[in-house]
Amino acid sequence: MIVAGGPVIPNFGSGSSCEVNNGWFCTDWVRQHWSDTLQPALFQHIELAAIAIGIGFAIAFALALVGFRFRLVDPPIGIVSDFLYTIPSLALFQILVPFTGISLLTVEIALVSYTLLILYRNMIEGLRAVPEEVVDAARGSGFTRAQTFRRVELPLALPAILTGLRVATVSTISIATIAPFVIAQGLGQPIYAALSQDIFKTEIFTAGGMVIALALVADGLLVLLQRRLTPWVRA
């Protein structure tokens, strides 16, 4: 509903002409609302994604340990994580809300379940790709099974594991923008707000751009980590 002459934009501030006319990008609005809207949303977004990736990584790793050690359980774990990945996120919220309520938990369960497939698959593939003769040499040299895993198989799977982590991180940062369908958190919140009345361009572009920038920065940091942890790959 638009009131004649009134402001059409959400988070209405002092109302520069750019804002009143809903210009393509109003820098004064961004400056004014950085600390009360954008920055908190960014921090929430980082938190949403970090929790999901951390928990997802821990679960996927535990599953990969089991799936690598006992080949029989790998297919069922794979199928379950495949299945979780295919559920549309909004539908997953609908399924979860009756059990976990309008809560952070609901959002995190959804986000975590989307990381599992990518992380688990990369871990398993990475571990399986360790050359047989290298494992043979390790066992023949007198490594225990645990030492073989920790000192040989795991480090050699690291490039694949970190590649999985990069994909999972970027996609989680992206998917986390739908959190406001459940709780008012993250960069999805300003986007949602900008859409809810008229489409306020400045807010959409700024928040959307921040999601992209966050994903790129996170990916870049992980590339640096990958180089640091796997110096032999470029040798």
Partner: protein
């Protein structure tokens, strides 16, 4: 850490796989004296690699026993047993994520040796296998196949094991480098005097490397176990004769030197030292279109002669 060389005894060692007819290794009995190289040779399916892997229990015996210095491998703790046995394989199996120094330090690290000790040991071993110290900080991917196998050998020697198992160590290396590695391995063996079990499918390599050769036939039966010379000159049966090849008489010539022959009085002819093998002496005669060779001692003085007819006897 373990010490010098150990005696290795296969005592009716047998490996059968369930659901497979016949044994992979059938009642194999042989003794490898401490400090000797025993080459296991034979056609594929002869159980050579299986026999080798029974020793460090990468494959478990079905029956019979294997003893190292009198102690059964069955009675030893699995990882302790393996740490005391050097292990070299055809594909080398270096750890790609570790530097050459860390690869060489594998077993000492398992023994809890400090970093400085490992560093010094790695320097010694790089020198022993003929690699420059600058290799220490490189990764395996930066080395050629021959260099990698040298590192593989250094890694196997690092724990100073009394016994080495080598499974076709030079099999994937081109012929020229292989010949050089064989020579260097023999030189190195003179220095370190390990007991070595060496698997190959190449009879020429077996003759060159082995103090004794065990010829295994399909089904893991031992066809003959003897010195290279005895196998060439007195093959136990048709299988061994066929396996060592129709040119076995010629191969045997390479195992004798002129010093073992009765020489004639000094005579004129192409000179050749008495350490020359009969095979090379014959080659020299043919090349020079000569009928007699002047044989010299270490100082180059002619001490006798040998004729073409005497060589061929």
């Amino acid at each position: 850490m373990p010490g010098q060389a150990a005696e290795l005894v296969f005592d009716e060692a047998t490996k059968r796989y369930e659901g497979r007819e016949g044994a992979a290794v059938e009642r194999l009995s042989l003794t490898v004296a401490a400090g000797e190289i025993c080459v296991l040779v034979g056609p594929s399916g002869g159980g050579k690699t299986t026999a080798l892997r029974l020793v460090n229990r990468l494959i478990e015996l079905t029956s019979g026993d294997i003893r190292i210095d009198g102690t059964s491998v069955r009675e030893q703790n699995l990882v302790q047993l393996r740490r005391g046995i050097g292990y070299v394989i055809q594909q080398v199996g270096l750890f790609p994520h570790m530097t050459i120094e860390a690869n060489i330090g594998t077993v000492p690290r398992l023994y809890g040796r400090p970093r400085s000790w490992i560093h010094t040991r790695s320097e010694e071993l790089l020198e022993l296998v003929g690699l420059d110290q600058s290799y220490a900080k490189r990764y395996p991917a930066q080395l050629s196949g021959g260099e990698r196998q040298r590192v593989g050998l250094a890694r196997a020697l690092a724990g100073n094991p009394p016994l080495m198992l080598m499974d076709e160590p030079f099999g994937a290396i081109d012929p020229i480098v292989r010949a050089r590695l064989q020579d260097e391995f023999l030189r190195l063996q003179k220095e370190v005097r390990k007991t070595v079990v060496f698997v190959t499918h190449d009879i020429d390599e077996a003759i060159k490397i082995g103090d004794r050769i065990a010829i295994l036939r399909t089904g893991g039966h031992l066809a003959q176990y003897d010195t290279p010379l005895a196998i060439l000159e007195k093959p136990a049966d048709d299988f061994v004769a066929a396996f060592v090849g129709a040119d076995r008489a010629l191969k045997a010539l390479a195992l004798h030197t002129l010093a073992e022959l009765e020489l004639g009085p000094p005579a004129d002819g192409p000179k050749c030292p008495r350490t020359t093998t009969v095979r090379d002496a014959l080659a020299l005669l043919l090349q020079q279109h000569a009928n007699v060779l002047a044989v010299t001692d270490e100082s180059g003085t002619v001490v006798g002669s040998i004729t073409r007819d005497a060589l061929l006897k």
